[in-house]
Symmetry: D2
Subunit: 342 residues, 4 copies
């Protein structure tokens, strides 16, 4: 008895990635595919890597088209998810890969997204303390942002263990697919190849309040976050270099112990052996997360670094992982920890 899944926004990068993963999911049958501006086109022309779906035709995103599915994945522009979810009814599992239901603080939402706050849904980062319980049986899931996924998995164990002060500095490099498929001059291959450049500097990136929310929730106090995203010349991957001032008494051993405890039983997060560092190539196309941590005694800071694939664990893989939990399937069903490298 297969789970029937629809994807709204199937022509973009998030939509394409969730389809790539669902094609390998043994319990899922792919139903309707929608994409407003591309409705009527064959998927083979838009997502030529998804060979088994090449002949499928995109439809309009309407309640009728999305009806009759067990799960609907939303890969829509900000602000559209609430209306679509309402039309689908309370019994359909709606997995929102957009931002609409991530932030608890209405003021933060309004400040960073400029529209009315829609509320919050269970947060699809199962590794975060308490998250799995909220996802079990859920009918609505808010998939985290790609940067918050990488940064949270790098640094929350330090807050969970109480070894870090209430301020974090995060510098993350992302592949260009994080910026989407809409053509813009600064995202042209000619511009991005051979170049590193920051953006949203100084606290302006929308993922900042989401990181603050995650760290603060774990720490039980307000954590200050300085977040700088940078665009790297690669299609996929996020490398998040995170640090926080160590509390008094912290040692290299206590830092490592905190991370070993946090990730002892996590199927997708791999705390690397000492001396080995995360590389985005190692998790290319996989749902795995590589994490490493060090204690810089001279600077007095804990340095935690993670590598994820922004489209897989950072978006569509996290979505499928959370769907598995919500549906009562094994959390790892259809998801791989094997990267495509070199």
């Amino acid at each position: 008895m297969a789970v029937r899944a629809a994807v709204a926004g199937a022509s973009g990068y998030a939509g394409g990635e969730v389809l790539r993963l669902l094609l390998a999911h043994p319990e899922v049958e792919i139903g309707a595919l929608t994409g407003n501006s591309n409705a009527g086109q064959q998927l083979g022309a838009l997502q030529p890597h998804l060979l088994p779906l090449a002949g499928r035709v995109l439809q309009e995103t309407t309640p009728e088209v999305l009806a009759g599915h067990d799960v609907v994945f939303l890969a829509l522009p900000h602000g559209q998810s609430a209306a679509v979810a309402e039309q689908l009814g309370p019994d359909v599992l709606v997995v929102d890969m957009g931002a609409d239901f991530r932030l608890k603080d209405a003021a933060d939402w309004e400040k960073f997204y400029g529209s009315a706050h829609a509320g919050t849904w269970p947060y699809g980062l199962p590794e975060l303390p308490g998250a799995r319980a909220a996802l079990e049986g859920a009918k609505r899931i808010a998939v985290p942002g790609c940067y918050p996924t990488a940064a949270t998995l790098a640094l929350f164990p330090a807050y969970a263990a109480g070894i870090a002060e209430a301020e974090a500095v995060i510098v993350a490099a992302s592949g260009t697919s994080g910026a989407g498929k809409a053509p813009k001059a600064h995202l042209l291959g000619s511009e991005v190849m051979g170049s590193m450049t920051p953006y949203g500097v100084g606290g302006g990136h929308r993922h900042t309040p989401e990181m603050i929310q995650n760290f603060s929730g774990v720490a039980g106090e307000r954590i200050t976050v300085s977040f700088t995203p940078t665009l790297a010349p690669m299609p996929r991957g996020i490398l998040a270099t995170c640090s926080a001032k160590a509390r008094a008494g912290v040692t290299a051993e206590s830092v490592r112990a905190a991370y070993q405890k946090a990730y002892a039983d996590e199927p997708f997060v791999h705390l690397l052996p000492e001396g080995q560092w995360p590389a985005t190539a190692s998790v290319y196309g996989s749902n795995a997360v590589q994490v490493q941590v060090a204690y810089d005694e001279t600077a007095g800071r804990i340095i935690a670094i993670s590598a994820i694939d922004n489209l897989t664990k950072g978006t569509a893989g996290g979505a499928v992982q959370s769907m598995n939990i919500a549906l009562g399937l094994d959390e790892t069903t259809g998801l791989s920890t094997i990267g495509v490298a070199p």
Copy 2:
């Protein structure tokens, strides 16, 4: 009752890729992993993308270590396969990803490889006419070279249909993984990023006689091949741009018909719709082949272009596909036609 497989040469790119595929193969259990210069090291340090095998330790390549397996994949330097195969006995399926048993012509072998000819094994390109029959039940398989795989699948249908003259011009661009993992200055990232450069120009590349052998076998006459390989700034993928003078009477329709006939039932080769062209990104990490063909009436040439992943269909995927046939499994078992893109 799983098939137990060993990999000799597990620390290189071909060895790593066959392991990546075997990890997803439902009928295979991974046995011994060997790698002489890296014996004693953990695979996690050498192939960090193969997370489920991170704790496995490489052994020496000896008959004792390789004994007790149903299949042994060889990813060894040229000239070593014959001795290893002999020691394994006639009942073990030996799949050689090296060149030792590809060429029928001893003189060609000696000219291009500079050592004594070892003979030929069934040729692991199932799409080539007659190849599947030779692979069924085989205990020895010679996996084709990566360039011959791409070029043969692009152009053999023209020879099979008798629409091309006996000369081919092939220019292929390969990702750098085709040059292997041994560190050389001209393969450094600093050298290859942002650069295209040819090598082995003028007929000197070792894959040239293999292409001639494939085309001539299909055509029933000696085909002349001018082959120029180029190194492209990407880790994986081959784009083979092939052309041959069209015979008299050829039309765009007869060209397309020849290709539709050749690939109507092939599970891995996808003849693209007219107007769409192969891209190596679309087959990244997959065993799929994208093929397109055009007839340039003004120049009087048939232009056939293919895109493969050099490590997957071009090496390890072709090896697994042929293993499936030899073992009587469904040819597509454990292999994907879904690329990792963007």
Copy 3:
């Protein structure tokens, strides 16, 4: 007494490159810069690499703005150059980096460009026999296409020496800047990084008739050209792999002699020592051309390969070189043969 130069279309890649070169030209003073859709913007926001011009403001492309200059470089969409040139008057040197005045054959023009033929101007490829004489003192220059520059310099010596048959096969890989700065989905970094893909296959690319014109002019007979362009994952550079059937009696020595003769005195074309092959990285940002040639006796073909920077020698460098000749300056003034590598 400086030469005063204006650039129409200063916000695109060709316009930016000509400005980069003119900034280093000791005899040129940069005057008006125009760009219709970007008029009113500062160049620093559009071409941030041209630091000395950061504060300059783009103007509309009008006769008034372009008046009062000795030289006007046109980097405009096809079909606009004739009207602008007419308004500038016969005494201004107009260097057209577009296609409007390249093709002699009106039928070819109409077939490939779909508009009325505007005529021809002296062709700005000084290395082509007879071209320098036509450029000296010229007031109008048609800069060649980037692919024709690369292919012509690779293969014309074979036609000039009468050692090649009347058919050529050309496969060229270009960096993405050749496709311009207008944002299109298939040119996004996410799409092009890690991928090789062909386009305009089968004789459809607009640069095909220009190559035929060049080769035929040198050979004194109609040369057939099969041309396949491919897009490579790098910002700049063209590697053109060209071949032609050798005439009877050709030897490796006669081939090399033909090229040594053609390029003995050329300041920008460097025939590499035997055994060394062109690399686009070696000519990055320079006006140099690397050429190498081989005779494949088995296949009976001459293989000639060139590497250029598509924006420099392939566009703006060729334009400045031709301007130098037209103005009676030393041909190499302000132009470099030093690449930026690695």
Copy 4:
């Protein structure tokens, strides 16, 4: 009366880059080129982008070969510069692009480099307060490390203005040429393309004490530095993302004023207009530095970001700039602020 310059270590990346710049320097004549392991080889085979020097032959690095020059650039492995400099005598200007004479603190030197401290030479970062005076007429120059160049230029104005607390967090992404030309597996194109990875995490990188020295010297108190270098998939460039806790009373205006003051008269450092951010592509091959700064009020940190070309301003361009000062030439002679982009 030309300055005669020799380069010891001309086959590597630093040596190649200094030659590229000296070729464009109007006052310099290039003399002896040495490279021990490559002695006897032509430069054209080792540095094919330096066309005008293609026929020059590398010699052994001996006092006899290096004698008779006004300036000797050293691009040697650590620990070799002192002996060579001694042999050259006190009247020759020796510009060391290695680390030997950068650190004042002998204990730091021994801890990070593992050998005896050689002393310090005038520090070749002219933009640092006091540095120019020390360089004027100097006969010995220690060129800064590439990361310290980028980080110091990004953050020292904040310390000079007294607006930052005594702790800095620096995350920098470097192109692979910073790791040199010696072939190593983890630097292969196959490994670095498509990947971001950190190294030297936790305070272990040798450039850390150099940054501390620079910041502390400006601030007049000990500055703590947490430095994480990362390897980015590009040949050149460093993007340094630096931050420090803002002192009480700091405002966006006071931050900007500090940077405007620091860089008002610097010929190579360009403080970008508000809203524009540094990109390594914009300074590709140039000696320019792009700097931007922001004040994150919520996080209470000053974020300063710089982009340089690691081989130009970060190594060889900085060396030539300092040589100009030492020789009494205009500081900008032979150096460009124009990047090669796209």
